[in-house]
Amino acid sequence: MLSAIPFMFMVSLTVFILIQLPPGDFVDSYAASLSASGEVIDAATMADMRHRFGLDQNILMQYFQWMSGIILHGDFGYSFEWNSPVSALLWERMGLTLILSICTLMLTWMIALPIGIYSAVRRYSIGDYFFTLVGFVGLAVPQFLLALVMMFAGVKYFGIDVTGLFSQDYANAPWSWDRVVDLLKHLWIPMIILGTASSASLIRIMRANLIDQLYMPYVVTARAKGLSETKLLLKYPVRIALNPFVSSIGWILPNLISGAVITSIVLNLQTVGPQLYQSLLSQDIYLSGAILLLICLLTVVGMLISDILLVLLDPRIRFE
């Protein structure tokens, strides 16, 4: 547990160096983006901004200011682009991001686990072939392409706009029951799009794990002793086949925050992913730095959770 502290320190240093590595700084990228839309900024204003943002100091100074802000005051710094505290910007998007990711995760498990079990038990049946085909298609089609096709179909054949998480009337409204309903109306599309690929791969993993277990001697023995098929299946082989699921939770947590960036941009979802992308592009270092730190922290926490769950699930595993 305590080893996480020096680890996070190393991570923060790496993150800061990495986000500073691209040539230029926020002001350069700001000037470049203005210039791309034909807008101009003079050299004096650029120097002025650099001074204002502290970008004229050396990297070490900038790093220590950033870190001391976080450690001493819980202050993640200011976003240059938004002129507002990073934490406020992040929390604005965090809620919706978590709702979308958790719903998608639940959907994925609800689809993948039963189908995976079915495919393993009825191996080489028509149903298995069907789901295998669907699974491979789901794996092969890029999510953003699926999103574009659904958007086009929505406009062309149904005359509806499938982008975003709210309709225009509720976009800025305060939370109310109607707004929740509106959210649910929009949520299923990104859920399906984001869920297909991960469901497909989970089906394959579940199927392979379970097939490994199904022909173990202990299963044969249990069956010979007359244990009912369902009980036998769910109590032993499925339980063991779940191990890889649980150990992957460590990866799922950071993914909840920053997964599916391109799809979110295409679908115009106000989640953290597009914010990370935008902040990296514009070299808004404190915003991108905070998001990357958060992702690393969640990876560490996720690993811890999955270790604990593994111990609970499979008594054979013990901490040394």
Binding site: A31, L34, N83
Partner: protein, 637 residues
Amino acid sequence: MRLIPSRQLAIVVAAMATLPIAASAYTQAPMLDKLVQDKKLEPVDKRLPATPQVIKPLEKVGVYGGTLRSALRGNGDYNAILRLVSPQNFVRWTMDFNGIEPNLAEKYVVSPDASEYTFSLRKGTRWSDGTPLTADDILFSMNDLVSNKQFYSNNLAPFTVNDKLVQVSKVDDYTVKFKFAGPYISFLEQLATPLAQHPLLWQKKYCSQFHPKYNPHVADLVAKEKAKDWAQLMRNKCGDTEIATRWTNPERPTLDPWIIKEPYGGSATKVVLERNPFFWQVDTKGQQLPYIDRVQLSVISEVETIVLAAINGQLDFQLRHISGIQNRPVLAENQAKGAYKIFGSANVNANAAGLWLNQSTKNEKLKKLMRNKDFRVALSLAMDRKEINDIVFLGQGAPWQLGPYVSTSKWFNQKLGTQYTGFDAKQAGELFDKVGLSKRDADGFRTYPEGGRVSINAIAMISNPVHIDVLELIRKQWAKAGIELVIQSSERTLFYDRAANNQYDISVDVFSGGQDASLNPRAYLSIHPQESRMSLEWTKYYLSNGKNGEKPSPSMQKRLDLYDKWQTAKSQAEADKLFKEIMEEAANEFELIGTIRPALETGVRKANLMNVYQKMPSGWTYPTPGPTLLQQWFFAK
């Protein structure tokens, strides 16, 4: 022609003819009636200035109501909002971009040597919170913010002459005087661009609470809002010319036709502006403007999604982001279905894809050639612009070098635009031979007299696929003439980084400064530290008064001298003559090679959206569509 009033004498420029309208004749939008009845708002006559500015609608007098829908791209597109509400300054562009007319100033007086400008405000003009606009607001903006070193550590270029910042003083409650350290003939034009919005951006009453001079307890506010210092707090609450926070605080009083209701935050998906009940313009029938109740902007992160929204009829007006030539067919095809019409907007740029030949390239052998006009002419003649136009620009552009292509423009110069645009492989070959490149290597490429292949590297941004397509064609065309072109495409910041480090022989980019040549002369003069890529080294030399960089060529030095004289010219005629000499010299020197002039940009407007000036130029100096006065647009019932 840009009509700048003659200034041989101190001439009073009268305001636009105001029609005599009886005070009771003013009417307001129905959505305000209830507020007035409930005594939450004063009657319209009290809210308007004594003599409000009368705007003659473009086609016909409009009716109130409706919401104008448009789109912003993602969360860094705040200038799109600015372009729609338009910067409200003392003066503004005429719709056709050829002249200046009064805006918030009722009249203005220019001293004979063009160094003093006196502006008179309309009495009774109110901010959007109902507070009267007075000279004190302008003094606050200029003397407490613009000239405050904690707020702007450097002098702002549009307000600086001879390295000295303007002196602003109050003549009376409604009159202010701007005094410069020398003649400044283009100040009115600067005020009409979005670059000099400062004088009328900040309201003293609201914004002074964040200023240490007026609020001794400002430190408490800074701490409470978790800002770094008062300057940052000021920007958060009261904005600045080009930052997002200008549109995030609904409390900030403005002089705009619409004011922010649902702000543009870091995760906003929709931005809504609503009519300013104190807006200071009326139409010829005495109806208070704007006609349209609300402006609603959807925040969409992907450009293709904006195009989709346009063809689906979800946008009432859109030019920005969808204006590229590649979208024209699909936008034209869906006009009936989406109930919109397309229009063509002429870009103010001088070229859609120009080759900036680096006169200071690090490749010494090539540098000698680059500085030889015969070599540059040969490169130009070896290009088949018709092929480029047909393939990349769908035949919508035309061969062009540099300078405005609209022949009515004040700066139109036939020679600058059309010289050496023909495709002549034979003459190009002769010229290459003449400059000493007659030998070829095994692959058929020409070699330097000293040996080694003539290989030119060109940098381009991947965000501009059109430029890369153009380069691909030029690469093939030049290969036939025996010149090797190596294309280095990269992400935007790396492109600028390579340019800043002088690691390029050619940079491909637009040539700005067409119709707005004098406002944006970076393609004629090495004065812009990122963009004057005929040689950023010359720019350094010029900007540092010869301390850094490399001495410019005699031709460029001549132009820079003319430019210095132009900046301090005392009369418009003199200034225009000097600038035309600059353009003529640029034409003689032929430093930059152009390909195709910009094709008309495609925009959409709802079929029943009226009074839209369809020939609007597209550019930043004319912050499209702002100067077409959106407050007089309306939806026909």
